[in-house]
């Protein structure tokens, strides 16, 4: 290849890469910008604090959705985190390397890619119908747990596996048992990765709509217990946009969702940076 054509190839590559970058950034910013511009003017204190009227009116606020979302996420995480970390510890530390383990791991990976509505149908059949939880926060949360477990298990197992072997050996050589080694050395070292995975799941749970549509019913009332039905923010957005003419209000809910995700991401970044600094010997 001559000098000149190498140089033009370099120029062409630059143009393509810049183009890709600009298009991506432009797309993302336009979406967020569009939602913000249309939604922000309609955000008000009364929107956040009054109950929706429900039905096809599209009137009222979204207070019950905020509360429902909060309950749902909190309950989901309470079940999801111990279960997911436990399974990850089993897979990373205890499971023998055999056919069964490989099958489990393959299953986990497959489930992580299954569309959420499929989990929704499963949750509807098992939790809503067979177990008589009806349309409820409980049924929705358990369905979300099923949906998110594969993701949390995978990220946590990855985090556990990246803890250097030398840490394990050091602990064992000091007379620590296997469990002490896991609890006192491996788990703390893996915490940043596990937390990142957990918060990723939280973000997904906030945005999830399809599988909750068939497990939580969509009642506009304020939830009173785990067995109450309800609508999360994303579900509210869906109803407002499809069943009513309150498209501006739907945009406002979109803004609330975007801000929630931004806050969750900011917390993730802050947390993992702080931890990484401490691990590297800063603190």
């Amino acid at each position: 290849m001559s000098r000149v054509s190498a140089r033009s190839a370099q120029k062409l590559a630059m143009v393509c890469i810049w183009g890709a970058g600009v298009i991506t950034v432009f797309t993302v910013l336009s979406i967020i910008g569009y939602v913000l511009v249309r939604g922000l003017p309609h955000i008000s204190w009364s929107l956040l604090t009054t109950l929706p009227k429900g039905g096809l009116s599209g009137e009222g606020g979204i207070s019950s959705s905020i509360v429902t979302t909060f309950y749902l996420i909190a309950f989901t995480m309470v079940i999801l985190v111990p279960l997911g970390i436990g399974a990850a510890i089993y897979l990373a530390e205890y499971a023998p390397d055999n056919k069964l383990t490989r099958l489990i791991r393959y299953g986990v990976e497959t489930l992580a890619g299954v569309p959420s509505i499929v989990f929704g149908l499963f949750g509807f059949a098992l939790f809503v119908t067979a177990l008589h939880f009806r349309f409820s926060i409980l049924a929705g949360a358990l369905t979300l747990v099923c949906l998110l477990l594969p993701t949390l298990i995978r990220t946590s197992e990855e985090a556990l596996r990246t803890v250097p072997r030398s840490h394990r050996e050091a602990a064992l050589a000091l007379g620590a048992t296997k469990w002490q080694t896991i609890w006192r050395v491996i788990l703390p070292a893996a915490i940043p990765g596990i937390v990142t995975g957990g918060i990723l799941c939280m973000g997904r749970a906030v945005g999830e709509t399809a599988c909750l549509y068939v497990t939580m019913g969509g009642s506009a009332a304020m939830p009173t217990s785990l067995l109450s039905g309800g609508r999360t923010l994303s579900m509210s957005l869906f109803y407002l946009a499809t069943d009513t003419n309150a498209i501006e209000k739907a945009m406002a809910v979109g803004v609330v969702l975007i801000i929630t995700i931004i806050v969750i991401n900011a917390i993730t970044n802050w947390f993992s940076q702080r931890f990484r600094a401490r691990m590297a010997g800063g603190a």
Binding site: E169, A170, A171, L172, G175, T177, Q180, R184, P188, G281
Partner: protein, 251 residues
Amino acid sequence: MDAKMETRQLGFYYGKRQALRNVSLKVPDNQITAFIGPSGCGKSTFLRILNRMNDTIPGVRLEGEVLLDGQNIYGPCVDVVEVRKRVGMVFQQPNPFPKSIFDNVAFGPRVLGMDRNVSLSDVVEKSLRAAALWDEVKDVMGKSGLALSGGQQQRLCIARALATEPEVLLMDEPCSALDPQSTLRIEELMDELKERYTIVIVTHNLQQAGRVSDWTGFLLLGELVEYGKTSELFSRPRDKRTEDYITGRFG
């Protein structure tokens, strides 16, 4: 001599590959015993057998006996954790935990559940003093162990091992990742420590074995070629292969 540890017809396999064959020797009490040999000769394997660290590797098999104070540590009723408490280990790469200096040293006493009458900070101070690190870290005990220099990290690992009050200290090429000055520091430390501990060291560095050890074993292809007083082994090797190795003809 009083044997602290002893191996009898020791053989060791990684799967089908034999890493050690028929190694029988005695490790004398309160002395430094060094093992030398080219890469892959089985010296690290041998060291890791002495505190059952190789148990963590799948598919390994051991033949023969390994005695600690006359008792087979591979016997049926032996508690591995107890063995590792009595036989401590320092690794080739300094491997402090990503915890504070204090927590690093306190790790062993904490997991082993120590005597209520002794304060943890006393144990930590004593261990750091014994590892000749106290003066350098006493004001920064809350700092991460990883913030120390390589040589300091290795002494921290030694302090951490000493805090469990082992009887034997195994050192797997403890200076190979360190600069000459830190190496010298650790060698001096070993000389002090042998008053109270039996030390077994594996080293790539022949000069180091000659400087610090009382006894030396030469391993080649999984076989113990020669074992004797360091002064004799280096000045009058009985085996031609030992002579070739220590005069630098191979390895």
